[in-house]
């Protein structure tokens, strides 16, 4: 490789590391978050705030009280579900950026069941809602998956574009045909009947969607690491050439994986409408489908690590709201999230590569 900086026959070059050390894998995210907080802190100082005070307000808001903690879990649920959703696709190098739209379609399908087919016991209605949300999210993902599988159409762009379509379609329903006739013309659907609302834990807002997330993580783990299908997915993701050589059906698996990915995001949408808002309304998701991408990467696509990471990001969101109520711009929170992703992905290169001084004595820097 050509030198990055060449001085008198010596050059600083990037060299691939052999085995990736455990320490590097653990240290990297920690250092990245620390650096992100440092950069965020600098901005806070420059805008005339005390970073330590702000960070501690955030921490207290998110984790410092029973209410804060429960709210953090509430935010973590959709993050976990859509994080798992994108991670399945990412594992196969399918860049599904469309969890947001798939989440909306899941919510739409669940709402459809809740508004028009909610006659039955709670368990039946809720099961129908979950099923409808999974299928709707999955089918929405298929729109991007089919051209990807058969014609190699770039799924990053199609899934992203479909997000806007899904959100606008949901708005159309809310402002149009599904608007609550008794809602004083507010852009909301009618409130769901009791049988279409997910049960909650005690008096908190933590709803049954938490168990969907936990179950999904467990099922995905088992499916990916202990089944023949999961083995195929991992081989295709790591080396499509080897997968073809082994006789694996790549096209079929692209379709299956995108369907599951969209379906899981759809369940996240179902959990939001049924567990939190109890109706379809605009701004259902504050970008969970996008934050999920960060969550999935930080967790290195590992379903169990994702439990912790989505909890922390839930905390970040709740902490952000706390700061907003104390007069800080919401953009600062988004900036912090961005900074964390930037440093984690940037730091990734140092777990895989190292800097080496070549030419004279070989020395590691």
């Amino acid at each position: 490789m050509a030198g990055l900086l060449a001085v008198k026959g010596r050059a600083l070059t990037i060299e691939k590391r052999g085995d990736i050390s455990k320490a590097a894998m653990i240290l990297n995210p920690i250092l990245s978050v620390a650096l992100a907080l440092l950069v965020g802190g600098t901005f806070l100082v420059l805008t005339g705030h005390d970073p330590l005070e702000i960070y501690s307000t955030m921490l207290k808001g998110a984790f410092g009280s029973a209410y804060g903690l429960s709210e953090t879990v509430v935010k973590a649920i959709p993050l976990l579900l859509s994080g798992l959703a994108v991670s399945v696709a990412f594992r196969m190098q399918l860049w599904n950026i469309g969890a947001e739209g798939q989440l909306y379609f899941g919510a739409i399908a669940a709402t459809w069941v809740a508004l028009f087919h909610a006659d039955g016991s709670r368990i039946i209605v809720l099961s129908m809602m979950v099923g409808a949300a999974f299928v709707a999210g999955g089918l929405w993902a298929m729109i991007a998956a089919i051209p990807r599988a058969f014609f190699k159409v770039n799924e990053t762009i199609t899934t992203l574009m479909l997000n806007y379509v899904a959100i606008l379609y949901s708005n159309y329903l809310i402002y149009g045909p599904w608007k609550d006739p008794e809602g004083y013309n507010f852009p909301l659907t009618a409130i769901f009947p009791e049988s279409a609302v997910l049960p909650v834990l005690g008096t908190s807002r933590i709803h049954f969607g938490l168990f969907f997330g936990l179950a999904a993580a467990l099922i995905l783990y088992v499916a990916l690491w202990h089944t023949k299908w999961g083995y195929e997915i991992r081989v295709i993701g790591e080396s499509p050439v080897a997968a073809r050589y082994a006789g694996m059906n790549i096209v079929k698996n692209i379709l299956i994986v995108m369907f599951i990915s969209g379906g899981l995001a759809g369940i996240a949408g179902m959990a939001e409408v049924s567990g939190i808002s109890q109706r379809l309304q605009p701004g259902l998701s504050p970008g969970y489908g996008y934050t999920a991408i960060i969550v999935a990467w930080l967790a290195r696509l590992n379903p169990f690590t994702m439990l912790g990471v989505s909890f922390i990001f839930g905390g970040l969101l709740v902490g952000g709201y706390t700061m907003q109520t104390s007069g800080l711009p919401a953009a600062l929170v988004s900036m912090l999230q961005g900074a964390i992703l930037f440093f984690v992905l940037g730091g990734e290169i140092f777990t895989k590569y190292r800097l080496v001084l070549t030419g004279g004595d070989r020395k590691e820097v």
Binding site: A11, Y231, R234, V235, E238, A242, G247
Partner: protein, 512 residues
């Protein structure tokens, strides 16, 4: 007096675990086309990467026109007048020819007068008989035209010394002739040209001098008028073709693998295999000899189901498998030992345990129903690794950390554990150490004794002579003929590799 354009003295370049060049000397005179000949992995490309500043040598000196130089980047080499035309062109498809040529040229200032550049270019290409249209976009050009753009680009940047890496690999015969005519015009103007190649015929027709590399060392330099293809072939593959194995007699009646008038297209849509007829019987190793790039890769892929059959039939055990899926062919007992061990044969980022079930994960051996029983798979892997003496630190380490020899042993272990009926081994010993080569050969011989049908594709005639019951020679996608073990003759095989049919080659050898 002839000017010495390039003088490389005792160049040594090491990579972790490999010495790619060992004390190689190389000289290029002005006005000459100098061919660098050698098998894959002989160190040709490394040597030229050292000359063009991509690699810094660990030892040795480079002199350009008598001046000692030390390049730290390709830019240094370009400013010293050395231009390289890579096998994969470095052109921007959506840019025009002129834009590609001017782009990155250090002689241009911040502002570029495209009109002026185009005029200059047109005059320039006419001078060398390089017909390029400055305004054409690169994506509109054929491969041969793109190559001409690369050459003009180098000349435009003031290259006195032009290095071309396998330039004719992507060209039609007509285009190849035009290319060498152009190169000749350049040498007539006092420039020097180095061509990396392994095509003997081309070298004999077009080069002035030839340096042969083998195993990272320079074997000899010949003047083209003082040598012949046979001498070059021997220098390339090593002089001694001895050490033949005793092949135990086996009754080989039943034909297991049969290709009938089989044709296939190559990656670029060219005809890569032309009506191939080949039958391999139980307990037989059929060697496929040929200069690399004559259809060997395509033949192996067609048998493994990885490449579509364009015409003809493919039979295993008497059943028609034409157009069947890879999975069906794997299940029929066809095992491919691919050329590209890491990437095709094994998944680098997965561990040995995961890699050990790549072919049979669907079967009961890997676990019942939908699940994989990793504990029992691990136990089997452990046994395979021990049986084949694969050296690894732990079973859970990603296999990309293994050396070439250990990778190949692991791959063989896996493939043989599935008890295949038909084995296609593509360059199975390439780049391996002696120990691993022994394992490869013994494995193939053992499989032969067990009654498997084996196709062995190799560039090393020594290996083919040692192991094959018969040798079929392929040239430009056609089988030139098949020679039985008892009648093997190096000259005859050499002639057939150069494109003569068996009957002709036979006659020529007999009369000489």
């Amino acid at each position: 007096m002839e000017t010495m354009l390039v003088k490389m003295v005792s160049i040594t370049k090491k990579f972790p675990g490999v010495i790619a060049n060992r004390n190689v000397d190389f000289e290029l005179k002005a006005g000459q086309i100098h061919a660098l000949l050698g098998e894959n992995g002989a160190g040709k490309s490394t040597l030229m990467s050292v000359l063009t500043g991509l690699y810094m040598p660990d030892d040795g000196e480079i002199h350009i026109k008598g001046r000692k130089v030390s390049f730290t980047s390709p830019r240094d080499a370009i400013s010293a007048g050395i231009g390289m035309v890579h096998q994969h062109f470095r052109l921007v498809n959506s840019f025009s020819v002129a834009e590609n040529i001017v782009m990155g040229s250090s002689s241009e200032g911040f502002l570029i007068d495209m009109h002026e550049a185009e005029k200059k270019l047109a005059a320039f290409s006419e001078d060398y008989g390089l017909n390029v249209i400055p305004k054409a976009k690169v994506w509109q050009l054929s491969v041969g035209e793109q190559q001409r753009v690369e050459i003009v680009k180098m000349l435009y940047r003031g290259a006195e010394i032009l290095v071309l890496d396998e330039p004719t690999a992507v060209l039609t015969p007509q285009e190849s002739r035009e290319l060498f005519a152009t190169l000749r015009r350049m040498t007539d103007r006092g420039k020097g040209v180095i061509v990396i190649t392994h095509k003997l015929q081309e070298v004999m027709e077009n080069a002035d001098r030839i340096t042969v590399l083998r195993d990272g060392q320079s074997v000899a330099t010949f003047n083209v008028r003082d040598t012949n293809p046979k001498e070059l072939a021997q220098a390339m593959v090593g002089r001694d073709i001895t050490g033949s194995y005793e092949l135990p007699e086996i009754t080989k009646c039943e034909t297991i693998l049969q290709l009938k008038n089989l044709s296939a297209y190559g990656d670029r849509g060219q005809i890569a295999l032309k009506e191939i007829n080949l039958a391999v019987r139980r307990g037989e190793i059929v060697g496929l000899a040929g200069v690399a790039g004559n259809g060997q890769k395509e033949l192996a892929e067609v048998i493994a189901g990885l490449r579509e059959v364009a015409g003809g039939k493919l039979h295993f055990l008497g059943k028609d498998y034409t157009g069947k899926s890879v999975r069906q062919i794997v299940d029929a007992g066809v095992s491919l030992i691919p050329e590209d061990r890491l990437g095709t044969g094994l998944v680098g980022s997965l561990d040995a345990v995961s890699n050990s079930i790549l072919k049979n994960y669907r079967l009961k051996d890997a676990g019942r129903g939908w699940f994989i029983n990793w504990r029992s798979v691990r136990k089997c892997t452990d046994k395979l690794v021990k049986d084949y003496d694969v050296k690894l630190t732990r079973l859970e380490a990603p296999v990309k950390l293994l050396s070439g020899g250990n990778l190949q042993k692991l791959l063989l272990a896996r493939e043989m554990s599935n008890n295949p009926e038909i084995i296609v081994a593509v360059y199975p010993a390439r780049g391996l150490d002696i120990g691993a080569i022994e394992t490869v050969r013994n494995t193939l011989l053992k499989q032969r004794e067990q009654g498997k049908a084996i196709v062995l594709i190799s560039e090393e005639l020594e290996e083919l002579f040692a192991l094959s019951d018969r040798i079929a020679v392929i040239h430009e996608g056609e089988i030139m003929g098949t020679v039985d073990r008892d009648c093997l003759d190096l000259n005859e095989i050499g002639m057939m590799m150069a494109g003569e049919r068996k009957e002709l080659a036979n006659g020529r050898v007999a009369s000489s």
